[in-house]
């Protein structure tokens, strides 16, 4: 019996002297492989008298288990060791390998921020068309025939009838003319005005929303927009509400926010007024309803529009409008 126990000691000794998997496998097959020493001993168990067989058999099995255990243990140790050794060779401060992420344009980001607020409020997102007729862009919006914004100086014309929309409000008309109220719509996109200087680009972006429903009033308009502005700027910024004039809304108001730069103390950014205009809105003019065959006695409409560039300039501290369409990668990569 004792001589069999020696196998354990031998295996232990041999295992102590090896460092790699190949040697380990050699030991493994030498002792417990198909023709291994211990395997052969077990095979030859028949040589023993019947009464001893079961005792010796048990004993040999225990020895085998023990050896398997020792080998597995060593195996774990070796693979752990080799892993550790591999790790040692890595300079983990080298840069990662792969594609560096790109960016979306700040206008896309701003539009998404705004749209997601209104979508949560139950507004339905639509696309408007950029090429439209004078009829849709001006006439149906109650813009007087001699309104200055209609002339060739301010509006891009394609021919005598078609033009590039000067505001996203044309979308309102298309929706109202082709559908039945109630409506709760938000739409954004490019608009065009023939203007090009430090504070104007001939193309810019607007977002516009409107609700047509029974029992809708200026109080709702205020509720939606003030909460939107708080949400967009992330704080309860002071607001200034003032009367304004738009041909397509009556009454009309504009909302100023306190200048983020000077906190109302007056600076060059707010042209020394302490306020920055961000939004125009109002009750949809009865003439617009009439033009779209909506009964002014049953329905009321509220509408609002804002400039994306202006909002993002304020929020992200961008001081030059021309950066938006110059597309310098140094600018683009910042957002």
């Amino acid at each position: 019996m004792i001589k069999y126990n020696l196998y354990i000691k031998k295996v232990e000794e041999e295992l102590d002297n090896i460092k790699n998997k190949i040697d380990l496998n050699n030991i493994k097959s030498r002792y417990i492989g198909k023709n291994g020493i211990l395997t052969n001993v077990i095979k030859n168990i028949i040589k023993y008298p019947k009464e001893e067989r079961s005792i010796i058999g048990k004993e040999l099995n225990n020895i085998k288990k023990k050896i398997i255990y020792l080998i597995e243990d060593k195996e774990k140790y070796i693979s752990y060791k080799s892993l550790k050794e591999k790790d040692k060779k890595i300079d983990i401060t080298l840069p990662g390998i792969g594609i560096k992420q790109g960016t979306t344009h700040i206008i896309t980001k701003t539009i998404n921020e705004i749209e997601s607020f209104f979508e949560k409020m139950g507004f339905y997102l639509v696309d408007g068309n950029e090429i439209d007729t004078e009829f849709y862009n001006f006439d149906l919006l109650n813009m007087p025939k001699n309104h200055p914004s209609r002339n060739m100086h301010d509006t891009f014309y394609l021919n005598n009838n078609y033009l590039l929309r000067t505001h996203t409000s044309n979308m309102q008309i298309h929706i109202m003319k082709d559908n039945v109220p109630p409506f709760k719509i938000i739409s954004s996109g490019k608009v065009y005005r023939k203007d090009s200087d430090i504070t104007h680009t001939p193309m810019f972006h607007q977002i516009e929303g409107f609700i047509v429903d029974k029992n809708i009033s200026l109080a709702h308009l205020k509720g939606i927009l003030i909460n939107f502005l708080y949400s967009f700027f992330g704080e309860k910024i002071p607001l200034n509400l003032r009367s304004s004039y738009f041909p397509f809304t009556e009454p009309s108001m504009e909302i100023d926010i306190e200048c983020i730069n000077c906190k109302g103390k007056k600076c060059s950014i707010c042209s020394y007024t302490g306020w920055i205009e961000v939004l125009g809105c109002g009750i949809i003019h009865p003439n617009v309803f009439k033009n779209c065959n909506i009964n002014n006695k049953i329905y009321k409409g509220i509408a609002f529009g804002m400039g994306i560039e202006r909002l993002s300039m304020i929020k992200y501290n961008i001081n030059d409008l021309r950066l938006y369409f110059e597309n310098n990668i140094e600018f683009l990569k910042q957002f």
């Binding site: 560096k100 078609y162 001939p202 200026l218 009367s243 990668i329």
Partner: protein, 671 residues
Amino acid sequence: MKFNLKTIYKYTNINIDIDSLVKKLTKVGFESYLDDEYINISIPYNRPDCLNYFGIIKEINAITSVKVKKIIFDTVSKIKNEVKIKILDYNFCPKYSHIIIKNINNKKCTPSYIKKELKLNNINLHSIVVDIINYVTLLTGQPLHVYDLDKINKSISLKKIDVQNNILLLNNNKMNFNTDVFAIFDNKNILSIPGIIGCDISKVNNNTTSILIESAYFNDKIISNTSEKYNLFTKSSDIFGKKIDITRQKISLNLVIKLITEMIDGIASNIITKQNKLFIKNQRKIRLYKKNIYEILGKKIDCKKIENIFLNLDFKYIKLNKFWLLYIPFYRNDIEIEENIINEIIRYYGYENIPCVYPDIKTIFNKNENKIDLNYIKNLLVNYGYNEVINYSFVNKNIENIISKNKHLIYLKNPLSENMNVMRNSLLQGLSKTLQLNMNRKHDFLKLFEAGNIYSNDNNNYKEYKVIGGICTENNSIEYSTFIKKNNFFTIKNIVENILNIIYEKKIQIYNKIKHNFLDNEDSTEIIIDKCKVGIIGSLNNDILNIFSFKKKIYFFEIYINNKLFLKKDRKKYKEFSKFPHIRRDLSIIINKNILFRNLIKYISELNIIILKKIELLDIYEKNIDNNNKSITLMFIFQSNNNTLTYKDVDDKIDMIIKGLNEKFNSSLRL
């Protein structure tokens, strides 16, 4: 418009400090700011009545609730007004007043305060008489016209021109007028085109001693139409075109008399007025229902407060049970409907006094569900390392013509510049210019994309299509950091295919090599789904590289996403997948170089092996193979939905494929 503070204080009783006046004016819709001794007020388009001192003073009085200072000028007539006027069309001219003044000295200098005021509002200086009447117009908003009395016959009439007439105007231009234009005649000549411009013949000069001054109301529409038709725009036509107050003719003349007699002597006559009494009687009346105020503003406002606003605005009213009947002053031509009055109420009541209320959020069935999510596509490109740019939709015509040969472009009638005179027909020009700009600034590895519209003219039908496109340099990045060192046709194709899978339901994509205007013939393709072109991929050809002076290979792609027919329509539904293990087999074959991969795959799929779930290309190479052939390694995945496959099941199918390929393409196995 710039107003002199001194003049404002002269005609009002207000005593508030100027800062609060500016604030209050801004609040009620007149954005204002201080500029030295002037106050600059932007007058809204609908309030031309405030484009003069008397108008803005009325508004200031209303803001400050100050009682109006009565402006009266007593004048005594010393001579008889001997000029008779005959008006033949009271629709065009419902009111006409005039005076004559004799013995004036028109050689004197205009007082500096008047000069200053006129200059401030960009009104040219003339002789003192003309300067005075222009100054009075600035004060009252009433355009006036002065004639040299000695140059005209004493009886004048207002009627349409009877024969076509070439007239020398006081601005020295000769103009041919048709018979549809109104004119003031004496018995010989045309003296003026009333409301627009005077004629040379009756013009005053420094030697003039006797004058006739006209103060009338002319129909706004007729004046604007005439101005437009003859392209003849004057200060006077501008004011008349915006409608004036029909009650200010007399007071304006009195003011003129006062100033002229004070400054340059003169003896004035009585004022003669001819008018259509009906017009005056027709004061506009509007009903304002109490319930409508609440419906629009969302707040019940105390009746006393509302009536107080009427009082401040000088609106006379009769109060009835459910509504007020309001008499609108003649100078408030902007007030036509009930909503206009509600606007007046909220203007003075203050928007800050309206509560904030949330509208009910009604459930709207999510119709947005099946729209293509452009943001999703944009994010995909961002993850491929692309930066989004936004370019102007108008581009240079010459370059666009090269890019979009044989296509009908949309030209701008009044472009801003040569570089922006046509609507883009592809994103290429804008993206190339942006790439060029950044490459000039030493940015060598660039991947840019843009999503926007392109435009085309289909038989005078102006159309816009939504597209997404990208451009990139051949080198991807510095050598170390990217596993794909170079962009090529296939890396771009991978991106485009992924995007197309987001947009379109159908997966049948046919690639056609094409002769293209701006892409290289060798590595470019158009992509077709159901006979419809949905995109292009390729490297830019030499013509385009030269235009933008690109020295490297540039890849471009464009995907059209406006084709509603092919967009994903149905909501995705879960499909049961096989729970049995799959078996993989790799196969390397040697096959003729000219056989397209597409045909190979098509043939295998037409063998209709149901358990063949997927074929993928593992490797392809031509080195160490004889000249006519290439080696292709394919991976086959077999899986059954019903049972675990045996090796035999799979081996049979693989044999079938090998045999098939051998027969069809004369391919051989590579061992």
